[in-house]
Amino acid sequence: MAEKLLEIKNLKTSFRIKDDYFAAVDDVSLTVNKNEVLAIVGESGCGKSALAFSIMGLHTRAKMEGNISFKGENIVGISPSKLNKLRGKNMGMIFQDPLTALNPLMEIGDQIGEALLLHNKELSKTQRKEKVIKLLNKVGIPRPEYVYEQFPHELSGGMRQRVVIATAIANEPELLIADEPTTALDVTIQSQILDLIKDLKEDMDSGIVLITHDLGVVAEMADRVAVMYAGQIVEIADVTTLFEEPLHPYTRSLFNSVPNAKEAQDRLHVIQGIVPSLQNLPRIGCRFAPRMPWIDGEAHEEHPEMHEVKPGHYVRCSCYKHFHFPEESKEEEHHGVS
């Protein structure tokens, strides 16, 4: 069994809106092992980033319940100074939008160097500069000595994302959280960045949480996949199982919505409706039920639980047994179940 790096149990992160708390991350449990990429997929607004921020402790005004243990120690509710010793050193984060993730008034070298400075006080100024230049080299930035003294606005989006990555890996963290690292980039840069993250995983033996809504990225990068919907994980499995036999209606709908290059399609499958906002989440019953009204209400559990269908393959709610797409006939459905 692989070594557990991060174990999240029943995590609930709530935000206060007016006088009530609303959970953006609700009852999430997952583990990340060393040298493993766990992908978290889902639509916009389903709580992926909120989960990532919860792990890093970046929510300043949220109420967090449950347990996040990193290398066996709980990090929910620990003091800021303890958290700051972990952040940047043992866990690093790659942000989604490289255009806004860098301080516009600080030189590139200083921004990367800050991560070193904060966790390694013994390094002299010149040693730090050497290390930053090595990092810039590592992430494939040409002319690192020159870039060292540049400001973010002088670099392209792809270059800035490399700087963000260089900062995140400066102290070779054991856990790397990549929050949609390629969403803001064009396709050619995308694959370079993904290759880079892969190489880093091999180099440092780190666990990676990769947040994305791009199933292509998942197929290329992930070892295991967690599918999130409306703040909950609805299905979790290793990548081959999930791609070959997705079970939860949401997962199946997601896969069905991907354009297929081989077969010409007149219309793409569209999941009806939108992810409900925090205040409008159904708190009882299956959260995906409103988006598949053609399925009988009886199919859902009252308090949907995660069921282990096969070792390592979990699905929430029993409705997956009765699910079919509206264009499929009823008979096929019965056939599928039996």
Partner: protein
């Protein structure tokens, strides 16, 4: 940086030209002329007309303008009818007084506003923030001349902590320590009065900018590097939040000039503002033009200064 500054200075030339034309035209439009109040009414009106002709009153406006600008460039602003001395000499003493008053006001304003703005932005929507915001709105709503009168009455007459007029104690010898201290003592109350109610813009700009900056991605990124809260504020948020204040600096100076006209009159402080108001009521034409011109130049210089400061703080401006 130097390229930017040079270009920015060159832009000032057309600004100064427009300022001088505007001023000249406005001055010409003022009712009456230099002769109407100054000459004995018993003098024959024909003689006055003759004098007007001689002095160039009926020349076309551009000829008048050219001769005015010509003298201006030589440093000649004309002669005050009231004081019977060159305007430049008359202003010389007062500029120094006004300069120190403005500088003291500016320093006091920032000394009060920046800590309050930072507190307000960092702890937004708490009681502290509401108190500070409340104060800044009161400052925004209070007319300067009423507030200054209250301050003068309270601290000048009632408590007698501060002198009520003048810029220095009579009889002090210039150059001595006592002289400097007496100057400081005299400008403290007017400067404080103006500073206390001109903090609103700086407080509000700083507060809103901090509230805005602190949820930006690069702040989260700084936290994710393991930076402590104080480091995040000092190194990342504060400097980014200073940008609008630097941009506002030039305008702040313009406001200061406007304010000093009231303040100097209320506190009987012999500066440019007091001179301007007195000269307007006495039709001391050349002094009015001279002081207004100087105020205009000060505003333009203020804008220049704020642009240069901005270019030092913000690299995105510097490069282009």
């Amino acid at each position: 940086m130097w390229k930017f500054s040079l270009r920015r200075i060159l832009i000032m030339i057309p600004q100064l030209f427009v300022l001088s034309v505007l001023l000249f035209v406005l001055a010409k439009m003022m009712p009456g002329d230099a002769l109407s109040g100054m000459i004995d009414p018993n003098v024959d009106p024909e003689r006055i007309e003759e004098l007007r002709n001689q002095l160039g009153f009926y020349d076309p406006w551009h000829v008048q303008y050219a001769s005015w600008v010509g003298d201006l460039l030589k440093g000649d602003l004309g002669t005050s009818f009231r004081f019977k001395m060159p305007v430049t000499e008359l202003m010389g003493q007062r500029i120094v007084n006004s300069f120190w008053l403005s500088l003291a006001t500016l320093i006091l304003t920032y000394l009060i506003a920046i800590p309050l703005g930072i507190t307000s932005g960092r702890f937004n929507d708490t009681l502290r923030d509401q108190l500070i915001t409340g104060y800044s709105y009161v400052g925004f709503a209070t007319p300067l001349f009423i507030f200054a009168l209250v301050m003068l009455w309270l601290f000048g007459f009632h408590l007698q902590w501060f002198p009520t007029s003048g810029s220095v104690a009579p009889g002090s010898v210039p150059g001595t320590f006592e002289y400097v201290m007496s100057k400081l003592y005299h400008l403290l109350l007017p400067a404080l009065s103006m500073a206390l109610i001109s903090t609103y813009s700086t407080i509000q700009y700083l507060r809103n900018e901090i509230v805005d900056t602190k949820q930006k991605d690069f702040i989260l990124m700084a936290r994710s590097k393991g930076a402590s809260e104080s480091r995040v504020y000092n190194r990342h948020i504060f400097r980014n939040s200073l940008l609008p204040i630097a941009a506002f600096f030039g305008y702040e100076i313009t406001l200061l000039i406007g304010g000093s006209i009231f303040i100097e009159n209320i506190f009987g402080y012999p500066g440019m503002g007091q001179l301007l108001l007195e000269s307007i009521s006495q039709r001391d034409y050349s002094v009015v033009v001279g002081t207004t011109l100087l105020f205009g130049i000060a505003s333009i210089l203020g804008a220049l200064l704020s642009d240069i400061i901005l270019s030092i703080i913000d690299p995105r401006i510097r490069i282009k």
